[in-house]
Symmetry: C2
Subunit: 445 residues, 2 copies
C-alpha cells in the first residue's frame, strides 16, 4: 500500500492495547518502527515483536519523518509532545508528519496546532486522526480512521493512514484540524448511549421475567438491532462479565469529551448526558475497571427484593415487544442527537452516515431513520420512512410505564420518551402521520 | 368552625400516620368519629384517643353522613369503597359526603365518580381533596387541602375541610372532581424534584470538599433556598438519616402518579422522570423504607475511591457558587415543569402559585421566576426579573463540568442544563437578555 519505495522510519509513542497493535502491524508491513511507552514491560514485548525502542519521546522521534502518537488522553499527549526534559516536538525533523491518533477533544487538537505555530514549528504536518475498531483490528491494520488536516499534511501522511486502516474505512474528513476528532465524537454519541442501552434493554428483559437468551436472539433479529448490543451481550451473559474487552472508564472518557465539547457551543446532549450520569454511578460503585457490559448490574440489583410488583404484559411476545420498543426509542434519539451534533460541528453528514453504519455506532434505527434526520438537517422534508412518531411514542410509553410498574430503572428509555414528547409538543397537532425523524426537531436542526 | 350546630358523626377509613392524626383531631373538635383500619393495633390506639371503631368499611359508614377516606393508594381506596364482602359505598346513607383525601391519580378519582354513577349512587357527594403537610399538621388540623368537586358537594363538606385545614391553606380548586388531585400532582412535581435536589446539592458539596454545615448554612440564606432542602438536610446530616420522616417509597408513589398521569396527555416531565429514575435506583439498593434524605448515599459512595480527581474551584466561595448554581438551575426547571403541567391540567395558575409557595414545594426560584413563567403561560411577555437565561446556563454548566471533573453524578443538574440548552436552541439568537422564565418554552407553554 505504501506510496514510498524505501519504507519510512516511524516513531510510535504510546504502546497500549491499541498502540501496540498498530505499531506491530507497521513492523509486519516492513517499516522500521521505534516505540516509546512509560511502561517498561511493553517495551520488552515490542522489541520481541521486532520493533526498536527509545527511552524518551525526543529520542523516539529524532530523525524520523513520521510520528504516530497513540497515548490515552489529551493530557498524556501534551506531556509527551511538549513537557518534561525530552519532549517530542522540538526533536521532530523539519517537515515531519505528526499523526495524533488518540481520541481527544477537538479543542485539544486545535490548541495543539496553535502550540506548534507558537513554538515556530508550523513546518510539522499535523494530522488529527482518531481511530475506532478495537485492539484486534489495530493489529490487523484494518481500523476505521477519521483523519483531518491540511491538504499537504494529508498528502504526506496518507500512506501511513492506509497501512493502519481498512481501505473501506479510511475517512478523510473535510474541515482541517479538529474535524477528525469531531467526526469520532459524533460517532461516540451513538457508542456512549448504545453501550448502556444494551444493559438497560437486557435489565428490563430480566425484570419482565424473560429468558435472556430468548430476548437476545429476538433483539438481534429485529429492527432493534445495534452493533453495541450484539457485541456487549455475550459478555453480559457470562457470570463475571468476561473477558474485559472495554472498561467502563474507556467509554466514560469518550462521554466526557462529548459533554464537555457540547458545552463549548451550548449544544444539548440529553441522551449522552443521561448515559454519562449512569456511568458515574457505576464508577462510584467501583465498576470502573470492569467491562462496560457489566452495567446491567445497575439495572437488576433490586429485582425480586423490592416487594410485590406486577406488570401488565402477560406473555413473552408482549414482553419482547416492550423491550424492542424501549431499545428502538433509545436508538431513535441517539441517532437524532448524533446527527444534530454532526450538523452543529459542520461535518459532512453523508460521511457521518457512512462512518456510523460501518462502525460500532451502527443500528437498524440509524440505518433507516438516519437519512431522514439528515434531510431535516438540510432543510428538506423527511419522508415518512419508519414509524409514525406518535405510534413510536405510544409504544415507548407502554414500555416505560411497564418498567415503572416493575419498579425497574430505565434511564435512557425515560429520557427518550420525554424527548419524543417534547418534539410532539412542538409538532403541528393536525399532522396525521409524523415521520419519526421529526424527533430531531428537539435539537433545533 | 363547624357550620352545623349538633356536631355530625364522621366515618374515617384509613388510620395511618396521616389519617390517625386527622381523625383524632376531629375527635378533639368534638365530633363522634368511627374509625376503620386493617391494622388492629391502630384501632386500639384510636379507641384510647376517644374514637369509636368498626370492623368493616360498611359498618364504619352506616348511618354516617360524612365519610373521610385516607388510605394510602388508589388500589386501597377501590378496595374499601367497592370490593370485598362489606364495602363502604353501598352502605353510605343517601346524599352522604365522601371525602377522598388520599393522594391518587386524577384518573382514579374521575373513575370513582363514574363508578358511583354506574352503581346508581350519584346521590353521594364526592369531594376529591388530597392533603399536604405531614402527620404533625394532620393532628393539629392545619393541613393544606386541595379540594375539588361539585358546588353542592363542596358546600356540604366544607365545614369538615375547614376542621382539617389551616384557614389560609384550604384551596377550593375549580374544575370539579380531579382538579384537587391535579393541583396536588403539580405541586408534587416540585416535591419530587426538590427532595432529590437536596441530596444532589449536598452530595456535590461533599465531592467539592466543602464543609457540609457551611454549605447548608449558605444555601439556606441564598436564593437557592428551598423548603425541601431546609427540611431534608437536618436528617441528611445525622449518621443514620434519622428520624425517618418520609420514606423513599412515599415520594416514589407520588412521582409515579405524576409520570403516569403525564402519559395520559403525552406531557413531558423530564425533571420528574429523572428524579424517579434515581428513586428506582435507590429502591433497588434497598433504601425504600429509609428517609428520603438518605439518597445522598447514591451521590457520595464513590468519593475518594475512584482514583485522583481534581476540580477547578480553588476556594470555598468558588465551590459554594457552583453548588448554588446547580440548585438554582434545578429549581428553575422544576418550577417550569410544574407550572407548565398545571397549565396543561387547566388549573388556575394563581392558585397553583399560592399553594406552592405555602407548601413543601416552595423555593426562592419558584417565588421569583414562577410569576414570569405564568405570564409566559398566559401568552404575556415575561419581564426580565431573575437572571439572564444565558448567564444561568453558563453558571449551571460550570457546576456540571466541575462535577464531571470530580466524577460526581449530578442527574438533575445535568438534566436541567440540557433543558436550558434546548430552550436556548429555540430562542432568538439576537436577544441580548433572555428572561430565565423562557426555559419553560421547552414545554411548549
Amino acid at each position: 500500500m505504501a506510496t514510498t519505495t524505501a519504507k519510512s522510519e516511524i516513531a510510535f509513542i504510546g504502546l497500549g492495547a491499541m498502540g501496540f497493535g498498530m505499531a506491530t502491524n507497521l513492523v509486519k508491513q516492513g517499516y522500521k518502527v521505534t516505540g516509546f511507552d512509560v511502561w517498561p514491560p511493553t517495551l520488552e514485548k515490542f522489541k520481541a515483536a521486532g520493533g526498536s525502542v527509545a527511552s524518551t519521546p525526543a529520542e523516539t522521534v529524532k530523525d524520523r519523518d513520521y510520528c504516530v502518537c497513540m497515548v490515552a488522553t489529551a493530557q498524556q499527549a501534551q506531556a509527551v509532545l511538549f513537557e518534561g526534559e525530552n519532549p517530542a516536538v522540538p526533536a521532530l525533523p523539519k517537515g515531519a508528519s505528526l499523526l495524533l491518533a488518540s481520541t481527544v477533544p477537538c479543542a485539544y487538537v486545535q490548541s495543539l496546532e496553535k502550540q506548534l505555530a507558537e513554538a515556530g514549528r508550523d513546518d510539522i504536518k499535523l494530522i488529527d486522526c482518531p481511530v475506532s475498531g478495537g485492539a484486534g483490528r489495530a493489529a490487523d491494520g484494518t481500523l476505521s480512521i477519521m483523519a483531518g488536516g491540511s491538504d499537504a499534511a494529508i498528502e504526506q501522511g496518507k500512506f501511513l493512514l492506509q497501512e493502519m486502516s481498512d481501505p473501506q474505512k479510511l475517512y478523510i474528513v473535510k474541515g482541517g484540524i479538529g474535524a477528525g476528532s469531531n467526526m469520532k465524537m459524533c460517532h461516540q454519541v451513538l457508542a456512549a448511549v448504545q453501550i448502556l442501552a444494551a444493559s438497560e434493554g437486557m435489565g428490563f428483559a430480566s425484570h419482565l421475567g424473560l429468558d435472556l437468551g430468548l430476548a437476545r436472539d429476538r433483539i438481534l433479529k429485529s429492527d432493534a438491532w445495534a452493533w453495541m448490543f450484539e457485541h456487549r451481550v455475550p459478555r453480559m451473559l457470562t457470570p463475571d462479565f468476561q473477558p474485559i474487552a472495554s472498561a467502563l472508564t474507556i467509554i466514560l472518557k469518550d462521554s466526557g469529551i462529548i459533554t464537555s465539547e457540547a458545552g463549548r457551543t451550548g449544544f444539548p446532549t440529553p441522551m449522552t448526558s443521561t448515559a454519562e450520569q449512569v456511568y458515574f454511578s457505576g464508577l462510584g460503585r467501583g465498576y470502573g475497571p470492569d467491562d462496560d457490559s457489566s452495567l446491567i448490574r445497575l439495572y437488576t440489583e433490586g429485582k425480586g427484593k423490592i416487594g410485590p410488583v406486577k406488570g401488565l404484559a402477560v406473555d413473552d411476545e408482549a414482553k419482547l415487544a416492550l423491550v424492542l420498543a424501549l431499545l428502538k426509542g433509545i436508538y431513535l434519539c441517539s441517532a437524532a442527537e448524533s446527527i444534530a451534533f454532526a450538523k452543529r460541528c459542520n461535518l459532512d453528514l453523508d460521511q457521518v452516515y457512512e462512518l456510523c453504519m460501518n462502525a460500532a455506532g451502527g443500528s437498524k434505527m440509524f440505518e433507516t431513520v438516519g437519512p431522514e434526520i439528515m434531510k431535516l438537517c438540510r432543510g428538506e422534508k423527511p419522508s415518512t420512512v419508519g414509524e409514525n412518531l406518535r405510534d413510536a411514542a405510544q409504544k415507548l410509553q407502554d414500555a416505560v410505564l411497564e418498567a415503572q410498574r416493575l419498579k425497574a430503572p430505565v434511564f435512557l428509555g425515560t429520557q427518550a420518551l420525554n424527548l419524543v414528547r417534547l418534539a410532539l409538543q412542538h409538532a403541528p397537532q393536525e399532522a396525521e402521520k409524523l415521520p419519526s425523524a421529526m424527533v430531531a426537531k428537539v435539537w433545533a436542526v
